[in-house]
Symmetry: C2
């Protein structure tokens, strides 16, 4: 069994490679739900949907989110009703959120929804939300104070510097059923090249998850989301900066060092090897850019071999 | 001021003609909401939407409901999630129901939602739900007992005979703000050629509406929805039969006779004139089939002139 901690687009791309190497039945993905947001009364789970659609082969590859060929008629109609529509959601995508909201309203847990959706889309792996409780990631920015991370990311295009991050609700949240178990019973836990603060950091903020990672017998291997001092995608640099963490593979390694066994860094960052190994983490240097399926598979293979 | 009692498609077509003759500002339409139904957690108001879309000029004319050129990607995705999808709702149409559900959840009344939607779509008339309270029309059919009218109409294609009708919640419902006022202060109240049992009958089931129609000084004029012993559209015959009412213009006139001043029947039904006039209702005979805009306008003119 392999367990993976995942955010959105970067994680989904990495998982595409991993899914070529191991049977889906042997794979559990624990997904960040700190980005979850209620819009127009619908519960939207951006990272769960991105991971699910990508592994189901229906994701819009160019965007990295949403469904291939989807239309946007529902959203445009909401705009014509004067709704403040800064979030993007295609018509098929709306169906997922309508189903989710409907199931939650009828007493289902978020994990039951994601199990149903991934099963209906033909997937055999387990996609688990980090928690079934309500946790929301907020970032502190100039003038506005704390705003929901999706508002920061989508509405504000992640332009502002970030002063601080909080995971509202995390303190009292419990890991979803299966999360701790998966970490404790896997041979290997892989931390995706996702945002170390708002994606992986949100998962680690759920009480019990970090302890499980420290105590499990599983090999814990991460892929650096920072290459040559910058994130491959997304605002990880702004978040690391805001929390006073060096924007480098080393900076990320330090965040995971208390539980991490191995770290895969890009060949561009080979100079950081010594500092990372001084943290007690084994380093493998390779190509982490995932430009095509072959490089995704090669990267996944590194995480399995290390 | 003119007030109109309306169901769905038949009413909307009639109103298209009427809107050519009088200023929208002088028009109040009281719409049946007994067909309203919750599906996938969304509040759907079929008749309000049909009337609104038709008057806004965006209705799908062939179907009589939904929005011209709308796609059905959300609904098809819900089908792929195994949801029992017997109801039809296009992607833009979903937006209306998402907005409605969201506003209702935040404490708005149904009448506030319909006011907003019709205003956003550029309409100047008042579209009022018969009530802001929850009323649901159920019909009793063989084997199944009572089923929601939309389930009967759409899922079962109105094939079964009907034994009985009930308006669940009507007894304790109050007319929406403006409904009684509109009836009492109009010069004329027009009853559309809608289903006399489940559309007009549902409106009349709201306490206070029938009394207002009896006591108002307005001229009350109806158009027969039954021509040559059959409904122009929909299952009115099955409903009239089920309640032991003659399926004829006369049968409908009897249902309204306690408040009706004038009744427009089709020239095919001229033989019924004497029986209807014996009820104390003035009869005008004309073409009621509304095949094109000219005939819609001509019919509307009859209701204004009578």
């Amino acid at each position: 069994m392999i367990t993976v901690l995942a955010g959105g687009v970067g994680a989904a791309r990495f998982l595409t490679g991993l899914a070529q190497l191991i049977k889906q039945e042997n794979l559990t993905v624990i997904v960040n739900t700190g980005d979850d947001i209620d819009l127009f009364g619908l519960h939207i789970s951006p990272d769960i949907d991105i991971v699910t659609y990508t592994l189901a082969g229906i994701v819009n590859d160019e965007k990295g989110w949403g469904i291939k060929g989807d239309t946007f008629n529902c959203l445009n109609m909401l705009k014509s009703f004067g709704e403040v529509v800064w979030f993007n959601l295609g018509d098929q995508d709306f169906a997922t959120s309508i189903l989710r909201t409907f199931m939650l309203k009828n007493g289902a847990a978020l994990s039951q929804v994601s199990a149903k959706v991934s099963c209906d889309l033909g997937l055999k792996l387990k996609i688990l939300p980090m928690t079934d409780d309500k946790v929301a990631t907020y970032v502190q920015i100039p003038d506005e104070g704390f705003v929901h991370f999706e508002e920061y990311l989508v509405k504000r295009a992640a332009k502002d510097p970030v002063f601080n991050v909080k995971f509202v609700g995390a303190e009292g949240a419990r890991p979803a059923v299966g999360v701790i178990d998966a970490i404790l019973t896997s041979e290997r836990v892989i931390i995706c090249p996702s945002n170390p603060i708002v994606s992986i950091g949100a998962i680690l903020s759920i009480p019990g998850v970090r302890d499980a990672l420290r105590s499990t017998g599983a090999k814990k291997v991460a892929v650096s989301p920072i290459v040559a001092g910058a994130p491959i995608k997304g605002p990880a640099d702004k978040l690391l900066n805001g929390l006073g963490v060096e924007v480098s593979a080393f900076g990320v390694a330090k965040l995971y060092a208390d539980f991490l066994d191995g770290f895969i860094i890009d060949s561009m960052d080979v100079a950081e090897r010594g500092r990372i190994e001084a943290l007690g983490v084994k380093v493998v240097v390779g190509n982490t850019l995932m430009k095509d399926l072959a490089s995704k598979v090669a990267l996944a293979k590194m995480t399995l071999d290390l």
